[in-house]
């Protein structure tokens, strides 16, 4: 301990406040990701595989939001399927209306429904601009209402996770029950066009892939800015000691709300772009199980690290396809195991592996205990 009025040190250490190498490394990583997504993947992958990658990238977009809300904010968002679904259904409703053409009802409504015209809550989605805005703003608005209620009442931890799960279940069950207007269990299927482009054309499928890749990079850049801003520092502080933050004059509910709402918007955009990539959105893609799957990818890769969460989400989604092709049925168990192993033995995910190994090595000779896992290191 130094004296309170110690002389300032040489070579002002405050100048070292922002590590110089960090931005350079981030820029290099960003360039590499752009190169892989826009040049390597389209050259190396068949149209079918590229379509699958597009689907994985949508999962990764949800993971970006989870990285922010869970990794940085400590909010175990086990209900991102809700926001993914809101975005997805909003987009699918517009595309179904557009597919049907002016004056016609979407195919499934003619099949199951008795209605002769569009339900009132479908009508605004005939407008493409409204739809695009709604895919992001609708999930954000729902998250804002829900979050302000939940966080002000200081619901947190497992209770927050259970509440999120219940909400995902509720939305899926509601959608199933409204077969005449939502397609029920089948969901909204056979989507053929995307703002005038025919989705059966491989060229247009590629275009959708590029849109998704660009959106993912955009979300990563946005999340990175948030994480390294003052707000990002405050968010970590709230995660680690909510009460202490309160005594500094902040309302932690607002701090958490921002992360939750942003994560919801990201999930909504992911859902919206998932629809043209896959051609379908159904309750099975937004309920409890998919909500958990969104989290698993981020947990395995490293929830506090953007790169970890994104690569983890892509990796787990890819493993799911690969393994369920080989061993159908075994994947569910494997996935559960993966989640447990990651949370129990490597809470920082694969992104923290290098750091853990390094610390083990350096800690051994001196016998000093390893410092707490720096969740904020890799981003």
């Amino acid at each position: 301990m130094t004296e309170p009025t110690s002389a300032p040190g040489k070579g002002n250490p405050l100048k070292r406040a922002v590590p110089a190498g960090r931005s350079a490394r981030a820029a290099a990583g960003f360039a590499a990701a752009a190169l892989a997504l826009f040049a390597l993947a389209p050259l190396a992958l068949s149209d079918f595989r590229l379509g699958l990658l597009a689907k994985y990238l949508c999962t990764a977009m949800v993971a970006v939001g989870i990285c922010l809300a869970w990794g940085r904010g400590g909010l175990l968002t086990l209900g991102q399927g809700v926001f993914f679904g809101l975005g997805g259904y909003a987009m699918a409703m517009h595309l179904k209306i557009a597919d049907a053409g002016p004056g016609n009802l979407p195919d499934f409504m003619q099949l199951y429904g008795t209605a002769t015209e569009l339900p009132w809550w479908w009508r605004p989605f005939a407008n493409p601009l409204f739809t695009i805005a709604a895919t992001v703003l609708l999930p954000m608005a729902v998250a804002a209402v829900l979050g302000s209620f939940v966080f002000r009442r200081r619901v947190r931890g497992a209770y927050f996770a259970i509440l999120s799960q219940a909400l995902a279940a509720a939305l899926a069950i509601w959608l199933i029950g409204q077969q005449a207007t939502t397609g029920g269990t089948n969901g909204l299927t056979d989507i053929r066009g995307f703002f005038g482009y025919d989705l059966d054309d491989p060229v247009n499928q590629r275009m959708v892939y590029f849109v998704i890749a660009a959106a993912l990079l955009l979300l990563v850049a946005l999340a990175r800015q948030l994480i390294h801003s003052r707000y990002g520092e405050l968010l970590v502080a709230v995660r680690d000691s909510e009460e202490r933050v309160r005594f500094l004059g902040y309302d932690p509910a607002n701090v958490k709300l921002v992360a939750y709402v942003v994560a919801a918007g990201m999930a909504g955009l992911a859902g919206a772009l998932f629809v043209p990539a896959v051609g379908i959105i159904s309750p099975a893609m937004i309920g409890i199980v998919p909500s958990i799957e969104f989290v698993i990818g981020a947990a395995v890769g490293g929830r506090a690290s953007l790169a970890g969460a994104v690569l983890g989400a892509i990796g787990v989604a890819w493993a799911r396809t690969a393994l369920s092709e080989e061993f159908p049925g075994a994947w569910t168990y494997f996935q559960g195991l993966l989640f447990i192993v990651a949370l129990a033995f490597l809470p920082g995910g694969l992104a923290s592996l290098a750091g853990v190994v390094k610390r083990r090595r350096t800690a051994r000779p001196t016998g000093e205990p390893a410092p707490a896992l720096p969740l904020g290191e890799a981003a």
């Binding site: 040190g9 250490p13 948030l226 680690d240 005594f247």
Partner: protein, 273 residues
């Protein structure tokens, strides 16, 4: 004007499930004072601070600079210029020293500032780093600081928070003699323009730095005054001799002198609540 400034507590009462931890406390602390709250375990010292800062519900009246605090939420009370520390130093372990201080300094920042990166070190933060002697450690995670340094960081956070009333719960527990000396001098300087209330068990520290003392016992103010006045109060002697200082009946029989080891007194029911 003097009536409006400082801390003014009237008839403060805090009960938990029928147990009254603070039982009608009246307390006045003026700006420039360095008030020590002492008393045996379970006297209600920490609960009193909890009530002033909004952590526990209380009845009565707590006014600071003329504004009633009771019934306000914790962060609003903090915003009206009141800061506290805790028995166990609570800093954001994974954030750096600099980040800890920057967050403490920022409750009034607008959304645009919050969403931008910190490009430079704010002036008050740099000054606080200097004051608490942690400039060299500004880039280290707060979790790697020594125990005493964490307590210093907490005091630094109160300084940049620019509070006008500081409530410190055992700020020198576990510190070495030199560190205590340095902390006391810092508190003395701080209290020149602010109101400082310190809960402390270390009687040597109290004797060296207190400008005034309030003795709490069983949820009430037992005695109040200068160190000498309080020490010569027979009721205070009785309370202390009846509690902890039995083995301490050495040369200091004239005054209360329970030399607790730092931190060995945190187990009372009241302080745990």
């Amino acid at each position: 004007m003097t009536e409006l400034s400082g801390l003014r507590v009237r008839g403060l009462r805090v009960s938990f499930d029928g147990f009254t931890a603070v039982d009608g406390v009246d307390l006045d602390v003026r700006p420039g004072d360095l008030r020590f709250l002492i008393g045996p375990n379970g006297a209600g010292k920490t609960t009193l601070v909890d009530a002033v800062t909004g952590l526990v519900r209380a009845s009565g009246s707590v006014r600071f600079e003329g504004t009633e605090l009771l019934g306000r939420s914790v962060h609003r009370i903090a915003r009206s210029g009141i800061g506290r520390t805790f028995q166990t130093a609570t800093v954001f372990e994974e954030l750096t020293v600099l980040q800890n201080l920057d967050i403490a300094a920022g409750a009034a920042r607008g959304p645009l500032t919050m969403l931008r990166r910190r490009r430079s070190v704010p002036e008050p933060v740099a000054r606080a780093l200097e004051t608490i002697g942690l400039t060299e450690r500004s880039g280290s995670p707060a979790g790697t600081l020594a125990h005493g340094q964490k307590q210093w960081l907490e005091i630094g956070m109160l300084l940049v928070q620019d509070v006008r009333l500081l409530l410190l719960d055992e700020p020198v527990a576990g510190m070495s003699h030199d560190e205590r000396q340095a902390t006391g001098e810092l508190l003395r300087r701080i209290s020149a323009e602010r109101t400082v209330v310190v809960i402390e068990h270390d009687m040597d520290f109290m004797r060296s730095f207190a400008r005034s003392v309030s003795v709490l016992h069983a949820g009430r103010v037992l005695s109040e005054g200068t160190v000498a006045e309080v020490q010569s109060d027979p009721r205070v002697q009785e309370v202390y001799l009846g509690h902890a200082a039995v083995q301490d009946a050495g040369p200091t029989a004239a005054g209360p002198h329970p030399e607790h080891a730092g931190g060995a007194h945190a187990g009372s029911a009241v302080q745990e609540v």
